[in-house]
Every structure is written in C-alpha cells, then in structure tokens.
Symmetry: C2
Subunit: 296 residues, 2 copies
C-alpha cells in the first residue's frame, strides 16, 4: 500500500534499517511501500542462500543499490589477513550475483591490543590494491566508507571523506569509489569541499542518509535515526550531493533499537515519507539554467 | 608522598580528573604526588570564591596550567548570546586572577532545534573576535579546543585541529591559541600536518592527554581513560607535540566514572606514573643534533 504522491524514484531501503526482517519480508515491505530499490546485507542473504536470494530480489523487480559489506581487513600479515582478503573476494562475487553494482567497504578498526593507526591504514590501502582489479573485472564498484571518528578504534580506521578519497585516488582512475553517509560525515568542516572533489572525481558510489540523535545511545553503534529525527540538516547535505553530480540511489540506513523493534512495513513507510520530504526535493536539478554551477 | 624517580617537571593534573575533590583537596593531592602544576575549573573555584581560590593555589606553590573553561557561545543574537559573551569576559578575569596563562574555550553545540552548523560556526568566530582583544589585554591566552566530532551536536561545533587553527588564524597574529587533547584528536588522518602547522604558528597553548576506551561509555562524555588504558598511542602523539616546539605543561584530563569514584590521592599517583612513562620521555629533545628538524 504505497502512499500516493510520494517522490521515491531514487529511494532505497537499506536492509539494516529493518534488521529483524528476513530477506523475503524486507523485499516485500520495500516494494509495497513504493520504494523501488533495496540495499542488501550479506548475512540475511546467506540465511536463504545466494542463489535463492538473487531470485527473490530479481522477482521483486526492485533495484539493488548496494551490498553491505566488505572490508575489515586491518589484520597484520598472516593467515587471518589472508582469510579477510579472501572473504572480500567472495563478497565481490556475491555482489555480482545479486546484481548489486556497489560493494560497501568498511575498513575495520585497530587489531586487538594494537595502537598503530598509521600501520592499520597502510594495510587498508594494501588490501584495496589487491581487491580493486578483482572487483573491476566483476563489474562491481568498491565503495570505501568513511565511518564516524567515534568508531576509529573498533570499526573503521578510515574516518573522513578526504581520507577515503586519498585512499581511492592512490589506486588510480575510478576503480574505487566512496560511500557517503550523512551520519558519519555531517560534522566535517571540510565536507563541502570534499564532496565537490568526490564529484569531480566521479567517486560517489552510494549516498546513505540517517540522522544523528542525542544523547548518543548507550550502544554508540545505535545512535542513528530516520532523517528528520535528529540534528542533521539532511536537505543541505543532499543539495551538496546533487551538486556533486551524483545521480544514483539514496539509501536510508538506520541502526536503532526502537526502529528495529517496530513493524518493518511501518518503518518502510516512514522511510518513504522522510525521503520524499527531506531528500527527493533537494535532488532536483537547479532551476534557472544554473544546473552546471556548483554554487547556488 | 611523591614517588621517587618519576619525571614530572611538565606534568599537570587537570582538576576534572578528580572531579569530586574540593579545590583544597585537589591542590594538596597534586602537590603531594610530586606533580608541579594543576589545571583548574571555574565551578570548584567558584565554590570557595575567586580570591580564596587564588590564595589556595598560590600558597601551594603549584603552577596553574589552564583554567577550564569558557566558550559555549553559539546562541543566535539576543540577550542569551550577550550573557554568554559576558560570562566569557568574566572567565578571562578569573583566569588572570588565578594566574592561569590560558583559558580553554569549548565552542558549544547547536542551539536547541537548530540544524545550521555553518551559522553556529560563524557565531563562534564572531564571539572570538570580541573576546580576543579583551583576553590579550588581560594577559590570558584563549585556547580554542576542538572536541571529538561525536560532540558536535551538543558541545562543540569545532571538531578538528585544522578548523580550530583556521578560526584562530582568522583573528590574526598569535592572539588565539588552541588546546590539543589526545582524546579529541587522535583519530584525525590529518593530525601530523595540522600539529606541524600549529607549531609553526605557535598556537599550541595547552596539551592535554587522555586515552580512548572501548566500548564507548553509556554516557559518551565519560569515554576517557588515563593514558595507557586505551587505544591511543600517547607516546607517538607526544612526540609530534614535541616536534611542534610546544614547551608548556601537559595536563592529564580524564572524565570517567570509576576514576571519579576513586581516591583522589591514588588517582594523582596514577596520573604521575602514566605521565612519567608515556609522556615525559617523548618530550625530550631529539638526540644527535636533530632537535631542529621535524622528521625524526
């Protein structure tokens, strides 16, 4: 029961927002809400098996905006690191099989007991060097995602868009893209300039929206909210994304306990409404013939 | 009962680390532990009265490394903003009276219900413009402190050292300094370059150390730890500080419930030990005649 009059043509529901739903349920509530695309996660895909998951998604008619996630390759050289890289090669294969044009990459944090951040960052770069040609051959774009600096120790040693672009650029051409998430990046005083740079380099592979809620949840991973519920000026951020030239889907990705506990169909409707009011209008081309200028 | 053999000549105990202690107790446990300096807070000073506080500190023979804190001036124009600025003028006077060479400035977050981060940042700049000449005349250095990006909504719209330096530089000369805190800045991929810049501009007014503990405490304000207890490479950070040319005190400033609940004298001893092993050795001049080079 899609709501009439909502503008959803570039809206995607990231599966993590309705984490407790099975893949089949996630696909059906997404389609029913009028959202035309879905962002998949490896774990619920694995639950039903890759082939069956691909068929469920294909049969639904939904676009797949991305697969989450690869990465977590910061271990020092050894069998563990080899296993991490191999797992990422499999993730690329899965993305290709699912029809996901993008594999989101979360770098990973510091190895246990290790305080050498520069070394961990070098290992991210090395892992990308091995992964990028494989992904390119598979037709999958790696989207390196800078995570909020509060996750640097345990989840991602890549913390800013500038840093992600530096890492991507080091591997040349457009092989490696970036994932831009409002929750992770909204605080960055250098955001506008780096989004401009990302646009010029054509590196924005996926745009994700979520809000920032205070106080930060007791489990800091769950501090997000649906756009409009928190402190982020999502329209302004989205206008900068539009100005970067990004023309892909906009995923709503929210990790939050009360959202996870709610009815998935109701959450999908809330996401659709938030997208229609706070995102879609700001993706429109600039009127008055200034669509090709950055400043507006 | 200072421990023999500890290297503490540039160590300062920030009063917030032993938050429950009165000023008199804070001063006495600091002196007893062999730490030669203290970082003061306005609230415990106000508890005993400014004049009496100044006398307690003077009589102790301790140096005052800084007064915490001014700032919180992000309100839109109006009586509230005027009150914020006036409060900061008083904070400057208090710093001068207490013999504190530095007033730490925390910008403040977004006004309630307001999502306009660029505007809040402009108001910080405007407030600094009004405050800087007054502080200069009083012989007090304003130390603008970038806070971790996880506090941008509710505590500080200044999040990186580069941003703080941009704001300081906009007001010319060396009137405005910066406070560099390991807890707030350790994640920054641009840290080394910005510390180098801060050194060249002689803007580091105070260096504070605290560690980053995971998981982040349920109250994210209390996520800190004593150096050595968490993920930060405090020796490496301190070496960069030394390379910047900073020659002042190093405050240990820890907000953490179990530290606050512990005996203040025991905490002071722990701080002294951590400083002596993880900070002091890395403040030493580079041997081999290379003290004037950045790279080592």
């Amino acid at each position: 029961m899609a709501v009439q009059g909502l503008k959803l043509d570039r809206c995607s529901l990231n599966q993590a927002t309705i984490k407790k739903a099975s893949l089949a349920t996630a696909v059906s509530v997404t389609a029913a809400s009028g959202i035309p695309a879905i962002g998949l996660w490896r774990e619920p895909v694995a639950e039903v098996g890759l082939g069956r998951a691909a068929k469920i998604v294909r049969d639904s008619g939904l676009r797949v905006s991305s697969l989450c996630r690869g990465g977590y390759f910061t271990s020092p050289d050894g069998p563990l690191r080899r296993a991490e890289i191999d797992d990422n090669l499999r993730a690329v294969d899965e993305a290709a099989e699912l029809g996901a044009p993008v594999l989101v990459i979360v770098a990973g944090g510091l190895p246990r007991g290790d305080r050498d951040l520069p070394a961990a960052r070098r290992r991210v770069s090395d892992a990308l060097a091995e992964l990028a040609p494989y992904a390119w051959d598979a037709g999958v774009t790696l989207a390196l995602e800078p995570l909020h600096p509060m996750y640097v120790a345990d989840r991602a040693v890549v913390s800013t868009l500038g840093q992600a672009l530096d890492l991507a650029t080091a591997h040349g051409s457009e092989e490696i893209g970036v994932a831009v998430d409002t929750f992770h990046l909204w605080w960055d005083p250098d955001l506008e300039g780096q989004l401009y740079r990302a646009g010029v380099e054509h590196r924005i592979a996926v745009y994700q929206v979520a809000d920032w809620i205070t106080p930060i949840a007791a489990d800091a991973l769950l501090a997000r909210g649906i756009p409009g519920d928190g402190h982020i000026d999502v329209p302004r951020f989205t206008r900068m994304i539009r100005n970067s030239g990004y023309s892909g889907d906009v995923e709503c990705e929210v990790f939050r306990q009360d959202i996870w506990d709610a009815d998935p169909a109701a959450v999908a409707m809330r996401v659709a409404a938030a997208h229609s009011s706070l995102v879609a209008p700001f993706l429109e081309p600039i009127s008055g013939g200034r669509a090709d200028t950055w400043i507006n």
